[in-house]
């Protein structure tokens, strides 16, 4: 694992609570990008033009890097190209900022072509101002009469701009392929439940609390889904739960589309679990909920949302009641849980179950033959077999979605009509 040191410069007179929650978020992001966070340093002062943090603090940072053998320095604050250069030189370590980190995460999460293009576009937007700086720095040094370099460097910026407009055109032409994905998945008979919500709300904790341990999902069936997908069961129904990147606070506008494209899994889901940290100050809860609704409303189609009010263990009962009524208009189907203490999980699962498409229950009679056996085992895969009896035939009491029952019934008629003769099938 790559080792990272986090650095955060805070504005003088900013709220301590907000600052520490931002640093926590940065840590979460770094971890989900696969870094091991080995140290965190913060400083409260106005920004330094050359180093973002103070010169002395930069030296301190370079000692930490040398001592710990860190592979990367990650700043919460946005860095200029000058600052990146100066810090990397002083600390002898690659330095990036939060936006660069977010781009790294999005790049690994982008599965569809559309998502990849969106991330590429955001990257170019991130590089553009840096290209401008490089060009103007080089121009200052440029000697009169030395024409070649100037025109070459100008073309660097122009090149980025060209690529941006080309990607935009491509994206405009691309259709979202949700419909195809949705149908092919439903054919396989799975319902998908997706976790949405801000970073740090408790999505991953809830994820491991809900899924059945040691059950790997067959990846080849779900190549469009992220590796963070596992199965779980409610009343015999098999479901897939998928964890997502999560919403990130204060995303700049040029990152929004790339962010939305990483949410494809949410828009494909049959049920969405919107996880909220209900122990945060009420104004922050509201602000985050509004941002979630804003991102979700146009694309969720008819998928029901269950609002998961998490971390109830951190607040009193009166406090909770008060919060619930204040956010009622923003919280469809609220369920109260504590993911870390494991309370409310069963109620949540039952709620999810209540939103699944209804399955039919029928008896299917099959001959005792290879074909009959293979249909029976197919029914085990596709539905819930409540009972199976072997008499002169196989009688399967099965609950499954319409198509499965219909197909089984058709096969039943066909097999029974042909009697026990195998080869005519």
């Amino acid at each position: 694992m790559k080792k990272a040191v986090l650095v955060q410069r805070n504005e003088p007179e900013s709220e301590e609570y907000r600052n520490s929650s931002r640093l926590q978020e940065l840590k979460e992001l770094a971890e989900s990008a696969g870094y091991l966070v080995i140290d965190e340093i913060t400083q409260t002062k106005n920004p330094d033009r050359n180093y973002q943090i103070g010169r002395g603090k930069t030296d301190e940072l370079s000692w930490i890097v040398a001592e710990t053998g860190a592979d990367k320095i990650i700043f919460y604050n946005q860095l200029s190209i000058m600052q990146i250069y100066n810090i990397s030189q002083t600390c002898r370590c690659e330095t990036i900022d939060k936006f660069h980190l977010i781009l790294e995460i999005f790049a690994t999460k982008a599965k569809t072509k559309r998502a990849k293009y969106q991330v590429e576009l955001a990257k170019l937007h991130y590089e553009l101002p840096k290209a401008k700086t490089i060009v103007s720095l080089l121009k200052k040094k440029e000697r009169p009469g030395f024409m070649g370099l100037g025109s070459y460097e100008d073309s660097y910026e122009k090149d980025i701009k060209n690529r941006i407009s080309r990607l935009r055109n491509e994206l405009g032409r691309m259709q979202k392929d949700y419909d195809n994905l949705r149908t092919s998945r439903h054919k396989k008979g799975f319902s998908i439940v997706a976790l949405a919500g801000y970073t740090n709300a408790g999505k991953s904790t809830l994820f491991s609390e809900m899924v059945d341990e040691n059950v790997e999902v067959e990846n080849r069936l779900f190549t469009t889904l992220s590796p963070t997908t596992r199965s779980f069961q409610v009343n015999g129904r098999k479901l897939l739960l998928t964890d997502t990147v999560g919403f990130i606070e204060d995303l700049p506008h040029w990152l929004i589309d790339a962010f939305k494209s990483t949410l494809d899994e949410i828009f494909l889901a049959d049920v969405i679990l919107l996880v909220v940290d209900v122990s945060e100050p009420i104004e922050i809860i509201k602000k985050k909920l509004i941002a979630c609704h804003d991102t979700l409303w146009e694309q969720i189609e008819d998928a029901p949302i269950i609002t998961v009010l998490n971390k109830v263990d951190r607040i009193s009962e009166e406090d909770l009641d008060c919060r619930i009524s204040e956010i009622e208009y923003l919280t469809p189907n609220p369920i109260i849980i504590s993911a870390s203490e494991g309370t409310g999980i069963e109620t949540l699962k039952k709620k999810v179950f209540s939103y699944l498409p209804v399955w039919k229950r029928k008896d299917v009679q099959l001959p005792i033959s290879d074909s009959g056996m293979s249909i029976a085992s197919w029914l085990f895969d596709e539905g819930i077999v409540h009972n199976i009896k072997y008499t002169d035939r196989i009688i399967v009491d099965v609950e499954a979605r319409d198509e499965v029952i219909n197909k089984a019934k058709a096969v039943e008629r066909k097999l029974n009509a042909y009697g026990h003769s195998e080869d005519q099938l």
């Binding site: 509004i290 609704h293 949302i305 208009y329």
Partner: protein, 131 residues
């Protein structure tokens, strides 16, 4: 469930004749957080202006349109319709309760009002051109 009145205004652009045909649509609905549960009433009203709209004009137009709605409800609009002014500034200028769209259902409701005001205005302009 809560009752709201979603409102949208179309026609802030000057017409070829040099003035503004504005159509305001108000929709009275009951909503849950993520769904529209019932649509009770729709009212549209047309206005002609000879200068661009200011925030107070918009407030006036909305109040005139909403006055024909029978059912009580918080007035909900998109922030852009109020020139992105802060909520406290705008709501203090309304006699009735006012808020910006927040939940999914409020956004759906405002979208509905938007389609109504847009299509009503189109119809209005078509008919005026025949005269």
């Amino acid at each position: 469930m809560r009752d709201i009145i979603a409102v949208d205004i179309s026609g802030r652009h000057r017409t070829s004749k040099g003035h503004y045909y504005i159509v305001c649509a108000a929709v009275s609905l009951s909503v849950s957080p993520d769904h529209i549960e019932k649509i009770h009433q729709v009212n549209t009203k047309a206005f002609r202006m000879y200068r661009p709209l200011k925030v107070l004009d918009v407030v006036h137009i909305i109040e005139r349109t909403v006055s024909n709605i029978k059912r009580e409800g918080v007035i909900v609009t998109e922030k852009g319709d109020m020139y992105n002014k802060p909520l406290s500034f705008v709501s203090s200028r309304f006699k009735d309760e006012f808020k910006y769209q927040e939940s999914i259902s409020e956004r759906l409701a405002v979208q509905l009002a938007h389609h109504i005001s847009l299509s009503s205005r189109k119809l209005l302009i078509q008919e005026l051109e025949k005269i």
